[in-house]
Amino acid sequence: MKKNILGIAEFLFAAVLTIGSFTVFKACGEHEGKFMACHWAQNAVTLIGAVTAILALVRIVFKNTGIKAGIAIGISLLSAAVIIIPGHVISLCMMETMRCHSIFRPAVTVIGALLVIIAVIDAAAGIIKSGKES
């Protein structure tokens, strides 16, 4: 349990990111049958969130400290990527007052940032530990 506490935290945050991205803090809805630009950013976030969650599960299951650290590095890179998706990689709607700017993007930034922090700590701890073991 203690060994996996960071992995569990990573999984929980990734799950919140994935599920929240199309529920609680989803981007702007469709309008007159047309999806808006931010919809594709939302889909990308959901997809990366799901991949991150699966990686976190794999990280929990694996016993080898080195592999755990490697996956944690992967998770930190993915979460860093998820932060820059809305607005930078995929553009959002035109006005800052719209939902994708005021709710979706900040929520993704906050959860992504926390995920990066946790994963970086996890990776660093893992690297130090595997160094000690060998």
Binding site: H31, M36, C93, M95, E96, M98, S102, R105, P106, A113
Partner: protein
């Protein structure tokens, strides 16, 4: 074994107590810092709004709902429109005591391509304007050509790019500075372009929320009073001499918002004070209780040769570590939540919010961490005194 490791050791061996004290410090710093940043953002937002308007008096068509509409446009960015006859501007210009006067025409687009939200389009008179151009961040060459627009900071369109309005590709040639007001999401253009937009909407069968042309009507008149002129009197003369209009002093409008802001600032201040008091009391009692628990430990340390000063330092260091960790984390989390969500808070509260500069925010962060450190060490001071002045002999004999 290093002496410096002693406080950390104590904290590590009492994880629940350490976590509780850290969390209290975290809540305290988050509350004080968050509250302070919100108050500063409000003050800056209001100051910016006042500056942004740049006019002493705004004249708009008579009717209470029009005034509410104007406030919504300014504060919330809710697009609105109202019209009065163009001749009003000339009538006003005839009144004494006016130094500058400029008219604006408000148009609301049903939707711009890609966006469900309505866009406020403002047609302004380039020659007489004194309220838009001073806010230009990226300067255009001097005059707007056909289908050229200036965009507010809240729109993602950058200079050089186009924005499609009713199918008309409008080129952004200038961008305004961020003001934290509703005007950040407006589009500014000439009345000629406005006319073309209305025509285009009619051609495409898109409902336009106004049928009147900027050739016949205007929405508002911005007035700057001449030096030495009494602004109140000027507003009164406009109201009495011209029918169907109302002259609103921007100061009055500001005062209403400022009053609202005052109430909010005060509530935040009171709340922050309550949290601070509560945290101080909890910390004080936590340290006081542990002081009783740790008497024997400190008596032993005394026999080993710890001086009173060293014992006090031990307690204070422990409190500084928990308060420091909690304080820094609290400020960090607050930045992580408030900064990205400021726009959402602004929309929910309908208040002008403008984030203070990075330097100001950093200074406040540092000040809050200092306050939390002081609160932590002050709460621990009593227990530090008690523990360093124990009756060693008595405690050792009692064995408790």
């Amino acid at each position: 074994m290093r002496l410096r490791a002693l406080p950390l050791n104590d904290l590590r061996r009492k994880p629940i107590r350490t976590a509780a004290l850290t969390v209290i410090a975290l809540v305290l710093s988050a509350a004080v810092f968050g509250g302070e940043i919100l108050i500063k953002s409000l003050q800056k937002g209001l100051a910016s709004l006042e500056e942004r308007l740049g006019a002493d008096i705004i004249v708009l068509p008579e009717g209470a709902e029009n005034k509410v509409d104007l406030e919504n446009i300014l504060l919330q960015g809710t697009p609105g429109y109202f019209y009065m006859d163009k001749s009003v501007a000339d009538e006003i210009a005839a009144i004494d005591g006016i130094s500058q006067l400029s008219t604006q025409y408000f148009l609301v687009s049903a939707n711009a391509e890609c966006c469900t939200a309505q866009v406020q389009i403002i047609g302004f008179d380039e020659h007489s304007d004194f309220t838009v151009k001073p806010w230009l961040k990226e300067v255009y060459d001097g005059s707007l050509k056909d289908n050229e627009i200036i965009v507010g900071a809240g729109l993602s369109t950058s200079v050089g790019h186009t924005l499609s309005l009713y199918g008309v590709e409008c080129k952004a040639v200038g961008k305004l500075e961020r003001t934290g007001t509703g005007l950040d999401t407006a589009v500014y253009t000439t009345n000629d372009t406005v006319k073309r937009l209305i025509q285009a909407s009619a051609d495409r069968g898109i409902a336009v929320l106004s049928k009147q042309s900027p050739e016949d009507v205007i929405s508002s008149v911005y007035i700057k009073a001449a030096e030495g002129a009494d602004i109140d009197e000027l507003a009164i003369s406009i109201n009495t001499q011209i029918d169907g209009v109302q002259a609103v002093r921007t100061k009055t409008m500001m005062t209403e918002t400022a009053d609202k802001l005052n109430v909010i600032s005060k509530s935040i201040t009171v709340l922050t004070a309550v949290v601070w008091g509560l945290a101080a009391v909890i910390m004080l009692s936590a340290y006081y209780l542990t002081a009783n628990e740790r008497k024997k430990e400190f008596a032993v340390l005394r026999t080993i040769g710890f001086s009173r000063k060293q014992l006090s330092r031990l307690v204070l260091t422990e409190s500084l570590i928990t308060a420091g960790t909690g304080g820094i984390t609290g400020v960090g989390l607050t930045v992580l939540v408030i900064v990205p969500f400021l726009k959402a808070i602004e929309q929910k509260t309908a208040l002008p919010l403008l984030m203070p500069s990075h330097i100001t925010v950093s200074l406040y962060g540092a000040a809050v961490i200092l306050i939390v450190l002081l609160t932590g060490s002050a709460s621990a001071a009593l227990s530090a005194y008690k523990l360093s002045h124990i009756d060693t002999g008595k405690i050792l004999r009692e064995g408790c």
